[in-house]
């Protein structure tokens, strides 16, 4: 009890310091007054009495000191004094302090932010129960390199037959126009089997998920997302049992999912599903073996079953499916799986690993730089420490002070770094490219911040205290004596610093090369011809519900009328519709067999992306005609022969350079199948179907009026083509046309939703953003690395010049010209830079292949890029060296020698 009370009183004394001091002053002076009074009573003069009293009292200051020591917490007070002293020291050399703090902040902040992102996207387990047990199943055909999901019948077969899993959930994407919940909108949805939510182990926030019965009976029920519940139903707890219209059919809401629930975990921010409905396979889907591999299948591994055993089980189930592939003779179906986590994050891994590598390099450079700065500083303060030790300061106290200064730097740098990390992580959550999954989970991870700060702190302490300790071991007199003797001592440190600068330069070159490669890739992408002219083009999606537009004829009538009305709008050049548009197109394609083509054993499929078009599609997008003709009115007439236009790469790959005009082909894997033959009437240029840096795929265009006929027996399964993109070329700003377009659509059908309305320029720019981001961030890192290593070169040279002022002065007094001094200093800088460059080149050769997946049109060892990076580094090094070199050259020998 007692010690605690004393401690408390001491702690409070710390803050009442001023009061207590005044109190003591008053008490001591009253004591002295008493003594003076007493002495005067004995007959002394006032002067004598006071002198005597003071002499008798002894040291007033010592008394106060002794009083203080027991009054407060001496250690803490000493630390506070050290901190105040340290702050004063830092303020005295603002350039040093600012550089060190900024370097630390950049290192710690960048490291924390990038690690936080990597942790959220790559490392953290998926937000499902025992998510490590969840697997994603795939099928592929041995004869073809493409990787598929699974077919609808196989979802059912796996659910029935497999033994290695406790449950399997199937899912497939869908979209619905939603009405009856505020303004109509187009919802991203997922059809899921009743087993999916239990397999994931996620319970709804409200209500329940689907029953097996609802799944089998096509019950019109839906589970909605948290955000839909909040935005459209104002978080109404009574939402269960209400109905909303999906594609104009009423669905009962039976559940609301929790806030953070997201499935499937697709990349990007806009991939979140608004609602889920029962899978309820249609009879056509159940009989579609071997034709549509769009269905996802997630399974939960049975406890105690190894992945090898699971693979054997999957092979067994696949072997059971294989005989159904009789229709597609000669194909060998294979099954495999990977963890759902791996499936989610594998595409994000290369970029994030590179980011991690780059930021680690920055952190390393930052630490090297801090080491360098502190070494320079410790060396320049050797004399100060010598003086203090000579005057009787205890080594312990000087060390404590140095330690305090180092930690002070780390603390300030760390604080700014933390603020930087918070800003960066927030920015990352908003600006990271949509090619990454799990962006919603990104949050700052404080343990990582602690680790980064600890790392920087240890560097600071080691580099701040170690040299001081070493110099203190030596004779005190030695450090006070200046000149020749001290120069010998400085040399080993000078060498150490040179090594640090070489290391920094090498790392900076590595980052420069990496960023150069990405910059070149980005430039290459911008140069890439998309195959059409995106300027002055507006696109928007329409989805005609099948119940209201049951026949192709109805659909065609709607679009024909829409085209007629839009064409009358002022500023509209041409209007067309297509089932697919460039850049954001669906890559799913159709099997094509040209007439006379016999697929050899082991040959892959011929697959072409299909565009069902109406109106002047090619003229609208300015896709150039290479041979033959565009589609026109005669193809739309009833009974017109089946025709198609193919892209250039299609012609080259599938017709082997022959003139394809007039040649025939069929959809499917054999030409002798039941499908109708289609005649090629034209060849157009390739368009980029994905982002500009993605490979070109073969494309074919058919008139929409022939779509149903061209599909033959498959028409019933794929249904009528009610989902179309409107593509309009305008005379001026296309975005101004949108309100008029919406008005016309609503005149035709008041319930129809115009979704995904963008100009083509916006669409192209959006797909560039991911590469733009990667490039920008790596370039920023390279710039930081460059600046830090230049600071390193500058610091070492400035120190060397300051240390050798006397030596240089003597040289100049003995006749060395300013030019020689200048060149000698520059030569040192260039030697260090060249050695760094050599190291960096070796590192680049070893490491740039890791960048391969991010490069486009550039090889990892692009000589122009590497040469550019080397040139930039050498020029900048020379610039950084110029200031201290000039300072050395401008030394006035007389003044310098006299000053010593």
């Amino acid at each position: 009890m007692e010690p605690i009370r004393i401690l408390l009183s001491r702690c409070s004394a710390l803050f009442r310091r001023r009061n207590l001091d005044e109190d003591l002053d008053a008490e001591l002076s009253s004591h002295i007054e008493f003594a003076v009074e007493e002495n005067m009573k004995r007959g002394m003069s006032a002067q004598q009495a006071r002198t005597r009293a003071l002499r008798e009292f002894g040291g007033v200051t010592q008394t106060k000191e002794a009083y203080r020591v027991q009054q407060g917490l001496p250690f803490l007070e000493a630390v506070l004094i050290d901190v105040r002293y340290g702050l004063r020291q830092l303020r005295k050399s603002p350039a040093f302090a600012a550089t060190a703090i900024l370097t630390l902040a950049l290192g710690i902040g960048g490291m924390t932010a990038v690690f936080s992102v990597v942790e959220a996207v790559l490392l953290r387990p998926l937000p499902f129960k025992d998510s490590g047990q969840l697997l994603s199943l795939h099928e592929w055909v041995r004869e073809d390199p493409h990787e598929f999901n699974v077919t609808a019948p196989d979802v059912l077969i796996f659910q029935r037959e497999s033994k290695a899993f406790t449950g399997e959930g199937g899912y497939v994407g869908a979209g619905y126009d939603v009405t009856g919940a505020g303004a109509p909108f187009h919802a991203a949805a997922e059809r899921v089997t009743a087993s999916l939510f239990p397999v994931l182990g996620v319970d709804p926030l409200l209500g329940r998920t689907f029953t097996q019965k609802e799944d089998e009976n096509t019950a019109p029920v839906t589970v909605i997302s948290y955000s839909l519940w909040r935005e459209r139903f104002q978080s109404d707890p009574g939402v269960l049992g209400k109905t909303i219209d999906l594609d104009r059919r009423p669905y009962t809401i039976i559940g609301v999912m929790p806030r953070n629930f997201e499935f499937p975990l697709d990349a990007g921010r806009l991939s979140r599903r608004d609602l889920w409905v029962p899978m309820s396979f249609t009879p056509v889907e159940k009989n579609s073996e071997g034709s549509n591999y769009d269905y996802g299948l997630v399974a939960r591994l049975r406890p105690g079953v190894s992945t090898a055993q699971a693979q054997i089980d999957v092979n067994r189930v696949i072997a059971g499916i294989q005989p159904r592939y009789t229709a597609v003779a000669g194909l060998h179906l294979q099954g495999y799986f990977r963890t759902l986590k791996e499936e989610t994050v594998h595409s994000a891994r290369p970029f994030l690993n590179i980011l991690l590598g780059a930021v680690s390099l920055i952190m390393l450079i930052a630490c090297v730089n801090i080491a360098n700065l502190l070494l320079v500083r410790a060396a320049s303060r050797r004399r100060e420490f010598g003086v203090r030790l000579a005057l009787g300061a205890a080594r312990r106290i000087v060390l404590r002070q140095l330690l305090t200064e180092s930690l002070l730097l780390s603390a300030i740098g760390g604080t700014i770094g933390a603020a930087l990390a918070v800003v960066l992580v927030h920015a990352a959550a908003v600006h990271l490219p949509d090619s990454l999954p799990r962006l919603g989970e990104i949050a700052i991870r404080w343990p990582l911040f602690a680790a980064a700060s600890g790392f920087a702190g240890v560097t600071g302490v080691l580099c701040g205290v170690a040299p001081a300790l070493a110099s203190m071991r030596t004779d005190v007199l030695d450090s006070l004596r200046d000149g020749s003797h001290a120069a010998g001592q400085g040399r080993s440190q000078y060498n150490l610093q040179s090594v640090l600068v070489i290391l920094e330069t090498a790392l900076a070159l590595l980052l420069l090369v990496a960023s150069g490669l990405l910059l070149r890739s980005f430039a290459k992408m911008l140069e890439t011809d998309p195959g059409f002219q995106p300027q002055h083009v507006l696109t928007a999606s329409l989805s005609l519900p099948r119940h209201d537009y049951p026949t192709q004829q109805k659909v065609d009538e709607f679009y024909a009328e829409l085209q007629r009305r839009v064409e009358t709008l002022p500023g509209v050049r041409t209007v067309s519709f297509s089932s697919n548009i460039p850049i954001v197109g669906q890559n799913g394609g159709r099997l094509i067999t040209p007439e006379g083509h016999v697929r050899s054993v082991g040959e892959g499929f011929l697959i072409a992306s299909t565009y069902l078009v109406q109106g002047n599609y090619f003229q609208t997008l300015h896709i150039p005609l290479i041979r033959g003709r565009y589609l026109d009115d005669r193809d739309v007439q009833a009974g017109a022969p089946m025709v198609a236009i193919i892209s250039q790469s299609f012609a080259e790959t599938y017709f082997h350079g022959k003139d394809p005009i007039g040649l025939r082909m069929k959809v499917g894997d054999r030409f002798d199948g039941p499908m109708p033959a289609i005649t090629v009437v034209g060849v157009v240029g390739d368009v980029k179907q994905g982002a500009l840096d993605q490979p070109t795929v073969a494309q074919m265009y058919e008139p929409i009026s022939q779509a149903a006929a061209a599909l033959g027996p498959m028409a019933a399964m794929l249904g009528v083509a009610g989902n179309m993109d409107v593509v309009i070329r305008t005379a001026d700003d296309p975005s101004r046309l949108l309100p008029s377009l919406e008005k016309i659509v609503h005149q035709l059908d008041p319930l129809l939703v115009v979704s995904r309305a963008h100009t083509m320029d916006e669409i192209v720019a959006a797909t560039e953003s991911s590469r733009r981001f990667n490039t920008a961030i790596l370039t920023a890192f390279a710039a930081i690395a460059l600046v830090l290593s230049l600071l390193g070169i500058y610091g070492v040279l400035a120190y060397a010049v300051a240390q050798r002022t006397r030596e240089i002065a003597i040289r100049m007094a003995l006749g060395a010209s300013r030019k020689v001094v200048l060149l000698r200093t520059l030569r040192y800088a260039l030697t260090v830079a060249v050695m760094g460059v050599v190291g960096g080149l070796i590192a680049s050769i070893g490491l740039t292949h890791f960048l391969k997946s991010l490069l486009y049109g550039v090889k990892p060892l692009d000589s122009a890029t590497i040469a550019g990076a080397v040139l930039v580094l050498l020029c900048c090094s020379a610039l950084a060296a110029l200031i201290p070199a000039q300072r050395a050259a401008s030394i006035d020998p007389m003044r310098a020698l006299r000053a010593e």
């Binding site: 008490e27 008493f34 002794a66």
Partner: protein
Amino acid sequence: MAKNDLQGTLDLLVLKTLSQLGSLHGYGIVLHIQRASDELLSVEEGSLYPALHRMEQNGWIGSEWALTETNRKAKYYKLTAAGRKQLQEAEKNFEHLVKGVRAILRYA
């Protein structure tokens, strides 16, 4: 072994003085110890004030500012209940010390 260092002795002198004279300021304590010991003991001001404040922290004595008879402001110290107990303890310890030292001196 009892606590009987020199600091303890100064504490004892101060506590005893206060117990005999009631409330007193620092100068008065110095004066009293000097006179009562016939100038044999003199208390260093440098150790008195830290000792006073330590004892105050320990709760053995209390203090307040008051006016002297000559109308001067001074800080007066007074024994507390805990201080009274401490005084008994210290006196006992001191007796032990004296007995022990004497025994050593007489040993021959």
